[in-house]
């Protein structure tokens, strides 16, 4: 891209009323620093850090899925929206760096997060991990070397696809070559297979592995549903914000909004379907080796969080998004998307935090100390700061819509 074009882009996109990326970098850095203190100082701080990293990963990889799906379907209407998703993809290469503190901490204190990493960790009356026959049978998968190799493969493949998709899309803006579109389609075909596998692997390793006795074949699909919901919510928030602030005004219309919120609705149902099926099959089967995982999640505060998820993460958004008027008005769409993101965080808490045990082997209650809120909030502020820093930096560098995309006119004329 020529320097002249770059300056004109910046002049076009930069607006005094739009946030400065540096501001978000500062906020993110402060949040992360506090969160790192938590990671070092207490197990709940470490878990909170993990939740934060997975929260931002689910948004970013959800965006990656959206862009891949857009290309594989040769979709038309979503072209104006895709550019914003691509801007969010700029955070993907940093996700691996966010994971490094977890690596360093587990080097120092092996069983801090993934208990199986520590052979001497107590299983509360059932000996230690090193003596656990179930662990010994799983060492082929659950060993530290392989675990970190898998993490590198995951982050590496995501970064590769995110960068490649961004590169082709932005290059097309300036050179207008059709090859970029074809290249994206090829990337999408391979990328969907690879990202589906790596994202499942991430779900198994980083969340299911926290409680290594438990297993569910559905878990990867659950994590996919989660990522899609988070990404769609962020996308709606971004687009409505950009309409309010001007850059997307007259481009992003109510029909685009309607389609995005309809997708949110669809994935709300999909998430419920996956979560219900998983719970239901385990409930109905009633085998102790599976049910214990949900039993932990019915203790103390987690029971109420579980109920909160049923009503707040499914029923309320379901009924809300069922209504045409609420789905197509900016204010109500923004509200429900904020709500979904908030609930998404609780879904992660629900799936992750009960795996942390107190000294009696009972699930650690997440609200047991006011200090925990510091770790929860700082972690989220930190990763959201990084996400928005990456987003706005990318936003300022590129056109607001892919002007040479073959489907751009179709997308701009998308109405009714």
């Amino acid at each position: 891209m020529s320097s002249q074009a770059t300056t004109s882009n910046i002049a076009m996109n930069q607006d005094a009323s739009l946030p400065n990326p540096k501001k978000w970098l500062t906020i993110g850095a402060i949040g992360l620093l506090i969160s790192l203190v938590g990671l070092i100082s207490s197990p709940i701080g470490a878990y909170s850090y993990l939740v934060s990293v997975l929260f931002v990963s689910s948004i970013a990889i959800g965006m990656l899925f959206l862009v891949l799906i857009h290309h594989i379907f040769d979709a038309g209407w979503s072209t104006v929206v895709r550019r914003q998703a691509e801007n969010f993809l700029s955070v993907v290469p940093y996700l691996g760096f966010l994971f490094i503190p977890l690596f360093l901490m587990t080097m120092k204190d092996n069983g801090l997060i993934w208990i199986w990493m520590d052979d001497t960790a107590s299983l509360h009356g059932h000996g230690t991990v090193g003596e656990d026959v179930l662990y010994l049978k799983k060492t082929w998968w659950l060993n530290e070397t392989f675990f970190w190799i898998r993490a590198i493969i995951c982050f590496g493949s995501w970064a590769f696809f995110a960068r490649a998709l961004r590169k082709h899309s932005f290059s097309q803006d300036s050179d207008g070559k059709a090859e970029h579109t074809f290249a994206c389609r090829k990337l999408a075909a391979g990328g969907l297979v690879v990202v589906a596998l790596t994202w499942s692997c991430a779900a198994f390793d980083w969340i299911m592995g926290l409680e290594y006795h438990w297993f569910s074949t559905m878990f990867g699909v659950w994590f996919f549903a989660n990522a899609m919901r988070a990404a769609l919510a962020v996308l709606v928030l971004t687009c409505t914000y950009l309409v309010a602030k001007g850059p997307l005004k007259g481009i992003f219309n109510n029909k685009h909004l309607h389609d995005l919120t309809t997708l949110s609705f669809a994935f709300c149902v999909f998430w419920a379907y996956i979560s219900f099926s998983q719970y239901f099959l385990i409930w109905n089967g009633n085998i102790p080796e599976e049910t214990f995982w949900f039993n932990y999640r019915e203790e103390g505060i987690y029971f109420y969080i579980g109920m909160f998820l049923v009503f707040g993460h499914f029923l309320f958004p379901f009924l809300f998004l069922l209504q045409f008027k609420l789905k197509t008005a900016h204010a109500s769409a923004r509200f429900i998307c904020c709500w979904i993101l908030f609930m998404q965080l609780f879904d992660l808490y629900y799936n992750i935090l009960p795996s942390l045990k107190d000294s009696h082997g009972e699930p650690y209650q997440m609200f047991s100390s006011p200090l925990n809120f510091v770790w929860f909030i700082s972690g989220i502020v930190g990763v959201v700061g990084i996400l928005l820093w990456a987003y706005w930096t990318s936003f300022n560098k590129v056109k607001i819509i892919p002007i040479r995309d073959p489907r751009i006119t179709e997308s701009l004329n998308h109405s009714h």
Partner: protein, 176 residues
């Protein structure tokens, strides 16, 4: 002698009929309709029609279906004739869910179709349009617009001149 039902104009393309409908709407007619072989996008606003209210029937049907399912299962298995099987609770929304879910959909589907029939007053095997000589064209590739004599604004001259101003292929009388 057949009574007159209205005046009917014939058009060749979706664009023509759409512009014609916009003009008739702006002229303030109420008792008129457009006959097309397939739904034309944007015709509803062109005719000044609001969003269909069929979804309201659906939501009523769905709610009814779900409550029917849940209460039926509670009544049959936990109240009227208690069956204890596999150590499972007598009633739980978990195992009652699949059947209630199916009934929700079944009742919603019935309600949607009933709603559509009620709103459209179907079945109605008698309508002046069905006797029109060009009815076969109306379900093939031609587009028609008629204004009823029952419309308060209807008058032989002004209505005919309005239709003529729309550049139709042909204007005809529609017998009752």
């Amino acid at each position: 002698m057949a009574k007159k039902y209205g005046l009917i104009a014939k058009f060749d393309t979706p664009a023509d009929i759409m512009h014609a409908a916009e003009k008739v709407r702006d002229a303030g007619y109420k008792q008129w309709d457009v006959i097309t072989p397939f739904p034309i996008h944007g015709m509803d606003p062109a005719m000044g029609l609001k969003r269909s209210i069929v979804p309201r029937f659906t939501i009523v049907g769905g709610t009814l279906g779900f409550t029917t399912g849940m209460s039926m299962i509670w009544f049959t298995n936990a109240y009227d004739y208690k069956i204890l099987i596999g150590g499972k609770p007598l009633f739980s929304p978990m195992f009652a869910f699949p059947v209630s879910y199916e009934l929700t959909i079944l009742f919603s589907a019935f309600a949607s179709i009933a709603g559509m029939f009620i709103m459209n007053k179907l079945p109605m095997h008698y309508h002046p349009m069905l006797k029109h000589k060009e009815v076969a064209a109306s379900s093939d590739d031609k587009f028609f617009l008629y204004i009823e004599t029952a419309d308060p604004q209807y008058s032989e001259e002004s209505t005919r001149s309005l239709l003529e101003s729309l550049n139709p292929v042909e204007i005809d009388e529609l017998d009752d």
